[in-house]
Symmetry: C2
Subunit: 161 residues, 2 copies
């Protein structure tokens, strides 16, 4: 199976990864969060080869995560901006960033500080329950079929098949 | 540049993606969150080919995200369990899941319900500022060099290079 095909699974993680699971795609989304909009900058800062950047941007535009916008008419030039759907990946970026800060900082502290501009302090994101506001972690979550799970869906949960 | 090499960048998102940016790796982490521990189950539920599952599990063990544990002695059999570092990817999983629920549910509702076991309600994760508890989103975050950013680090921020 190709990675793009896992979106057929009745699981929002699989579906999300079918669109942004390729690491280079998430690097381009990162670059966009860091203010980049131009093809040449995506190449410079992601570290990906031009052909990869070109391919991934095309797919991300097709999936409605980036939009390709003309910003100059003579000559015609385009830039790439996150759509609402793309900007909504902010929480994925924050979660990856916080995990990297905790486990991969080589003891030197966070390489990048993310500030919450409304209070001007470190965002230091907390992931909390929408109902009781308690902290969520691997130890207090349970996954089970939801309203959109098909009647004959695969047994993706459970300890052993 | 290969995806594994982006971990050289002074950015926790890039470092995180250098270890888990490959979509299949995140699918295996997902399967572990859904209770899977055995090689054959990872193959069945991720949708990846055996050779890919084998390769990714090796890398994830090398990076300390999974540990390979003997669970039977005659014959010797191993299973794969998330380490503390791996379990700490719960927030990345929640963020991907919530994004997929919002943008890729085909109008049918969330395929999987994630319950916060401490209050027994939908986890419906909120990502809030560790300082003021305000909601974090793409519109109220600013990234800038942090304590671990090298003096001669690359100009990864900014609108145009």
């Amino acid at each position: 199976m190709k990675l793009e095909e896992i979106g057929n699974q009745p699981c929002s993680i699989a579906r999300a990864l079918s669109e942004v699971g390729d690491g280079w795609s998430l690097m381009l989304v990162r670059d966009a969060f860091y203010g980049r909009t131009r093809f040449s900058d995506f190449v410079t800062y992601s570290g990906a080869q031009k052909t990869i950047v070109s391919d991934r941007l095309k797919r991300l535009v097709a999936d409605g995560i980036f939009e390709r916008v003309e910003y100059e008419q003579h000559p015609i030039r385009h830039e790439y901006r996150l759509t609402d759907k793309g900007a909504d990946l902010a929480h994925v970026m924050l979660a990856l960033s916080a995990w990297g800060d905790r486990w991969l900082d080589n003891g030197k502290g966070a390489p990048i500080r993310i500030t919450h501009t409304e209070c001007a302090h470190d965002a230091g994101p907390r992931i909390t329950c929408g109902h009781c506001a308690g902290e969520l972690d691997a130890g207090n979550l349970r996954a089970e079929p939801g309203p959109g799970f098909p009647a004959n869906g695969p047994a993706i949960f459970g300890q052993h098949s």
